[in-house]
């Protein structure tokens, strides 16, 4: 019996940014790609503006552990740069980091932003995205999260059609225009990397 390769994804952000929603999209997309996936999340007090983290793990056989360990993440997706830094040690040596540059800095002792960005850029293969500018460009205030997911999707072996299908279904209750805006943001993020860098 040979060892099973288990893939891990860590999602990090601040309560209210939509981390849990993004984790659910990921879980569904992986599942529709024929993979066995689990997602772990923490509810309760942490949702009141605190740090929020979710994890997704997947493999080609059924899994039972909802948690991954330090060094078990192939991908770290963050919606806030300080929160990204907290979880860098979750990454495998070969892991990838995709994070928003824009801080949620309404807290005591937030380090100078340039220090946070410098620390993140020092992580080999890190991708920092200026989500605010992108949101302005797309005239879509909430575009950041979907663009981050689009960029991160380049490191996952889920076909683009499945991503689009899952995102469309997720936002369907909010109307066709919202679906379209989110698909547009996802594509914008996905196209930020040149072809040929996929995992």
């Amino acid at each position: 019996m040979s060892a099973t390769r288990i893939h891990g994804i860590v999602l990090a952000g601040v309560g209210g940014q939509g981390i849990l929603s993004m984790a659910q999209i990921l879980l569904e997309a992986l599942r529709r790609s024929g993979l066995h996936a689990l997602q772990s999340e923490i509810h309760g007090m942490s949702q009141r503006g605190g740090s929020v983290q979710a994890q997704v793990c997947y493999a080609d056989t059924p899994l039972t552990s909802p948690l991954i360990e330090e060094g078990g993440a192939d991908l770290l997706i963050a919606l806030e740069p300080l929160e990204a830094l907290r979880y860098v040690s979750m990454l495998r040596i070969s892991g990838h980091l995709v994070t928003a540059e824009d801080p949620v800095a309404d807290m005591e002792g937030y380090p100078p932003l340039e220090d946070v960005h410098r620390a993140l850029r020092a992580v080999r293969g890190a991708h920092l995205l200026d989500t605010e500018s992108l949101a302005r460009k797309l005239a879509h205030k909430q575009a950041g999260g979907m663009a981050i997911l689009g960029l991160a999707s380049r490191f996952l072996s889920v076909p683009e059609a499945i991503w689009r299908e899952v995102i469309a279904q997720r936002f369907e209750p909010k109307g066709a225009r919202i679906v379209e805006k989110n698909l547009e943001a996802f594509s914008a993020g996905r196209q930020l990397l040149p072809d040929g860098v996929e995992a």
């Binding site: 060892a3 569904e28 599942r31 997602q39 509810h43 949702q47 899994l63 330090e70 929160e83 495998r92």
Partner: protein, 553 residues
């Protein structure tokens, strides 16, 4: 209906209860159990009028609602978090003696690591204490399957059956397969010749206790069907339950050599000594992986057949939740290589009050009033809810938080011992949960206490469920004997700060029990429109001359 559904572990329990044909679901919100009730509630509401879902004012009330439903011969689910079972313990322990008519399943969600709780107690111990069976799933699919089986087991053994989850399973999202949904038909109410079983006067209770103990061998046999002995070639073995079982099962995928370890996989209690003996005969040393207390570890340890290692000898940390890493360390497996970020001091991003939350305005008024009466350092007793956040900086406005409803009695106890002023801060839902009897005693005691009720109209922290005290806090307060002259209703807004401070100051100077109700809807529920429909109906009824006198708070 044999389709795959994505849900949280705790939701899978709710879904299974629905599919098992329950007539009623009951509960009190508490992380990480809340979504179990909410899930089945949504299914019940979508299915029409044949079933009921009802939040209760507390866990004991919820349990008794479920037991009453069971009395009629229908199946019922009751949900709570681990510390909620303490509140329901009187009902739970005595329902073991009455037994059940319709199947009764108790979903209890433990919180190892205390993500959102005040302790790390282990509900398996309480099941053992009450001589009742407990099933412990390790995956979302098992959460569903075990709940279905729990109803059958409950009816076969005629006792309540606990399904114990922990946070990581309760909030693990995964696909699972459903079974066919049974209709909510019952088996008929407790028959006439069994009515005495339900009347726990001593003569009946003595007989029923003997009956309960006589059921133990059948409980052990039923539990044994869930538990599994997996042989191996090594002399070192693993005993694992719940998430310990889930983590170890997955580690075998990553480290196939672990399959050589004999293992005892535990998924149900009470444990069968024969299974334990059979396992221990195969090993010289055992590592035990279980969440919370060393339940299995102690049981295996006392047999003296092998060296048993776990939380008691430090092989596993004595407190906190399990994780794959904890198991690997205990098994002597190397940690993974990982990235490191350049050193930078990362401040903690603690949870805090939402922007614009009325609790903050209320606390600021209380603090300023305390300063105004010359008692800026007065100790204030707090309670359980979002408003507990005021214990931390910058507010540091409460100085004691113990359990649901404690604030009022703590303040009365302190007042009776001479503390002045004595102030309690409690939310509206916590007040309904267990503040009511405390306020009655406060009035009766004659102590000088000020009770601040933060009425945000919902159970805020757990997701804005309806508060049982909605629109009736003042009526409850008056009904418990607080004089109308000592009850004030205030609006916690910055623009009302001066008048709120003055009112609070007057309350602090009053003799006997004074009550301040700070009422402003939770901004999260306001944003979601949780009470929109309720308030529209309320306005209509208040505008109606016939019913208006009855609906005025």
């Amino acid at each position: 209906m044999n389709q795959s559904t994505l849900a949280l572990g705790v939701e899978a329990v709710g879904c299974a209860a629905f599919d098992a044909g329950i007539k009623g679901a009951f509960g009190y919100p508490g992380t990480p159990s809340t979504e179990g009730f909410e899930h089945v509630e949504a299914m019940i509401h979508a299915a029409g009028p044949d079933r009921v879902a009802q939040w209760a004012s507390n866990e004991k009330v919820a349990f008794d609602l479920a037991l009453g439903t069971s009395y009629t011969g229908h199946r019922a689910l009751v949900t709570m978090k681990h510390v909620g079972l303490n509140v329901a313990m009187d009902a739970y322990a005595n329902a073991a003696l009455t037994g059940v008519q319709g199947g009764l399943v108790v979903l209890v969600a433990d919180d190892p690591g205390m993500h959102s709780s005040q302790n790390e107690q282990d509900s398996r111990k309480l099941a053992e204490f009450a001589w009742l069976p407990c099933l412990e799933p390790s995956t979302v699919q098992e959460a569903y399957d075990f709940t279905i089986r729990a109803f059958a087991l409950s009816e076969a053994l005629q006792v309540p059956v606990m399904v114990r989850l922990v946070t990581r399973l309760a909030h693990c999202r995964a696909p699972f397969q459903r079974q066919e949904t049974l209709p909510p038909t019952g088996v008929g109410q407790v028959p006439g010749d069994r009515v005495q079983d339900w009347v726990l006067i001593p003569s009946n209770a003595r007989r029923r206790y003997v009956d309960l103990l006589a059921k133990q061998p059948r409980m052990r046999a039923a539990a044994a069907e869930f538990n599994r002995l997996v042989p191996g070639t090594a002399r070192r073995g693993v005993a694992a339950a719940g998430l310990g079982r889930a983590y170890f099962t997955q580690l075998i995928l990553e480290y196939p050599e672990l399959a050589a370890l004999p293992r005892l996989e535990v998924a149900a209690y009470p444990l069968d000594p024969a299974t334990e003996e059979a396992f221990l005969a195969q090993v010289d040393e055992v590592l035990v992986f279980e969440e919370d207390y060393p339940v299995l570890e102690e049981r295996l340890g006392v047999r003296g057949r092998a060296r048993v290692r776990g939380r008691l000898d430090g092989a596993v940390p004595r407190t906190g939740e399990l994780s794959p890493r904890v198991l690997k360390d205990a098994l002597g497996l190397a940690a993974l290589d990982h990235r490191t970020a350049p050193a930078l001091d990362l401040p903690v991003r603690a949870p805090r009050f939402c922007e614009g939350c009325g609790h903050v305005d209320a606390y600021e008024a209380v603090q300023e009033a305390l300063r105004a009466i010359g008692a800026p350092g007065a100790r204030v007793f707090g309670d359980i809810g979002c408003y507990t956040l005021a214990a931390q900086e910058p507010l540091s406005a409460i100085h004691g938080v113990v359990e649901m409803g404690a604030s009022i009695s703590l303040a009365v106890g302190a007042a009776l011992a001479g503390q002045k002023p004595a102030v309690a801060v409690i939310g509206d839902s916590t007040f309904a949960h267990s503040g009511l009897p405390a306020l009655l005693t406060a009035v009766e005691s004659g102590a000088d206490v000020t009770v601040v009720i933060l009425d945000n109209r919902v159970v805020g922290m757990t997701g804005q469920q309806p508060s049982q005290a909605l629109d009736q806090v003042e009526r409850l307060v008056l009904g418990l004997g607080v004089p109308a002259s000592q009850v004030q209703v205030l609006t916690p807004l910055p623009s009302k700060h001066a008048e709120n401070v003055a009112a609070t100051e007057a309350a602090l100077r009053a003799s006997g029990t004074s009550v301040l109700v700070f009422r402003r809807e939770c901004i999260q529920s306001l944003r979601r429109g949780v009470l929109k429909e309720h308030d529209r109906e309320l306005r209509e009824r208040q505008a109606c001359p016939t019913c208006a006198p009855e609906v005025q708070p």
